[in-house]
Symmetry: C2
Subunit: 437 residues, 2 copies
Amino acid sequence: MRMSRYFLPTLKEDPSEAQIVSHRLMLRAGMIRQSSAGIYSWLPLGLKVLRKVEAIVREEQDAAGCQELLMPTIQPAEIWQESGRYDDYGAEMLRIRDRHDRDMLFGPTNEEMITEIVRAHIRSYKDLPKNLYHIQWKFRDEVRPRFGIMRGREFLMKDAYSFDLTYEDARATYNRMFVAYLRTYARMGLKAIPMAADTGPIGGDLSHEFIILADTGESEVFCHKDLLEIDVLGESVDYDSDLQPVVDRWTNMYAATDEKHDPAEAAKLGDNLIKARGIEVGHIFYFGTKYSKAMNASVVGPDGDQVFPEMGSYGIGVSRLVGGLIEAFHDENGIVWPEAVAPFGAGIINLKSGDEACDTVSADLYAKLQAAGCDPIYDDRDVRAGAKFADMDLIGIPWQIVVGPRGVKNGVVEFKNRASGEREEISAESAMARLTA
Amino acid sequence: MRMSRYFLPTLKEDPSEAQIVSHRLMLRAGMIRQSSAGIYSWLPLGLKVLRKVEAIVREEQDAAGCQELLMPTIQPAEIWQESGRYDDYGAEMLRIRDRHDRDMLFGPTNEEMITEIVRAHIRSYKDLPKNLYHIQWKFRDEVRPRFGIMRGREFLMKDAYSFDLTYEDARATYNRMFVAYLRTYARMGLKAIPMAADTGPIGGDLSHEFIILADTGESEVFCHKDLLEIDVLGESVDYDSDLQPVVDRWTNMYAATDEKHDPAEAAKLGDNLIKARGIEVGHIFYFGTKYSKAMNASVVGPDGDQVFPEMGSYGIGVSRLVGGLIEAFHDENGIVWPEAVAPFGAGIINLKSGDEACDTVSADLYAKLQAAGCDPIYDDRDVRAGAKFADMDLIGIPWQIVVGPRGVKNGVVEFKNRASGEREEISAESAMARLTA
């Protein structure tokens, strides 16, 4: 993408309404624009990152044996009345009356709707297990939306729902999702720690939150320091095997959110205890037959009797993760995207747009990186060099190639790593080779 | 995907509520499930097709120089009050009051919101032109939703909005979108005819509908028969060139919907006039400064004066297209997907699941086709052969490979083309080669 054409409305000044760094940087980098309290448009740069995060979430759900479908945003009130949650949910549920005076709502979650689908279509234990997910916009009418997309009202969530015949099968499914979640965050470069959690309005008796660590995190968390050392992606996972040992490795060590923190228990860890700031980016639940019973979604079991499937649900805040990533990866100059979610693979800065030699080298690099699938962004604007450096740092492209008149004369460009700040003078060919290796 | 695991709730009987073939076949093929009137879940098979259609739409928008962003579903009433459309829109607009008693709505279209974004961020003519699109769920509270996803209430639309400095630039943008639309439909194997249209509530004075031809189409259309012969994809398009001659080639020949049909004019065509059934799948508008003026979205022009950008908007009904494709491509046995949008690249039918030789050949083909990126679906279920044939035809996979005991003994499989019904006995290796050529 040529920056001269790109809709990238960066801001020089910190917007006064933003209280946390991710909100501030998303506004400054032209990633989002608020349309009303807690409701945002994702501008082109923001959407690119959102889609990359979404793609990683999807790949890991698919790898774990989940199947994607897509439920609508607008739900009928009836199914929530059946489950008994329609009145419980309170003012956070956006209630709507349609032109025929039917009570509808903008879905905050989908346990009822998926149970209704399974009830209609799955009649026999032979059709189990099923683990179905969708990635869809949800709405929670927060009384005080804040922190940008971190606590917005309309947000993108991946939510999966599992249906198993037995408790043991359901636990195995829970373990698969536990591992899939760890892999999802690790692929984005995040350290995520699963922590035992309350089940809240979803219900059930087994639940973990996944907390990513970031200095600017919203809450205090406590855990054994060895949890930070586990190499999640070090070995491939076999989802057909028993994953309990993997889960045990995580859950046998102390890890607790502020609410669940037990100082006496934690004190036993001595020097192994670490205290950090955390951001919740996922939550998984096993809740047995709570919804299948309430909504009478039974199947015919092996013995011909009616069996209520054992269920779980598994959420990842996809849009929230974009904010979480920025909280974890930024410096005083802006965002520092991990390569896996970076909106562009490389940024080319032409220090002297209009200079024939600089234009030629830059355009050539741009074309070659495009052809190689590196998806570069090329700052070809007619603005001063300082503004170009600042914008490229602000939007956090992992690798920058700076093309200036002096270097071009000497056959070199400057190759800069955004994260470390290291710069090298190398040939344009070497820069290409590094980025496409 | 192994069909024994896939959530694919096909129906043997025609559902009584479906009046048109696409609705009937989408229900029977387990593509969708209605959750309330005009609101559907997209089950895994349906979602796969929807995403393929969406991807083609996206690629052609990007190729034409559009930039993708994503606006939220919920909009504030204020911007519609600014444009004057809040009261005009009537009962089709789903109006919502949030917990703080603010008037909101579920967006049926986004002229106001995109104009607000551009007003906030684009200040100079130097930042024009811009052509911004999103692919987002919309809601129109139809009084009588029907025909499945063809006239639903919650539907997926691609809508683009262009901003140009001059009328001439805006017309050039309109032409680019005109051509991008033709390419989009042609890539899906559809014959789409642009027809001059009324502008309706969007406003403006230049507009075309894109109508695809299908025997079961919703309305009667009339056009010169040579329009069906134009080879849209025959030559690549240069979006930087003047596309007026391409547009003229289409608009110089007679083409009209029932509403705009002029029998006297049409009669002049003699034998060249054809009468067909059509389905509207796209609509493009040029409407000048209607919204930029109403919402005071001006830029500083070249002479330092305030200029109101010339705008257009361009919609494609993405979810509707899935229904349109089925209306155009089906037979008495089910759907006949064009390869570009088929949910799976090939279907493997194991005629005798449990037979070691059949299982081995089928599983081997399945693994190899997966590795080759062909995305096969493998019917490994323990059901009778007739049911497998019927389901594979119903879901419309373009190529079927039938593995039976007799063939396996002779070293052959049956290779079937879903569209033509042609069958050949060839080796499994030849079948592989045909599918991965």
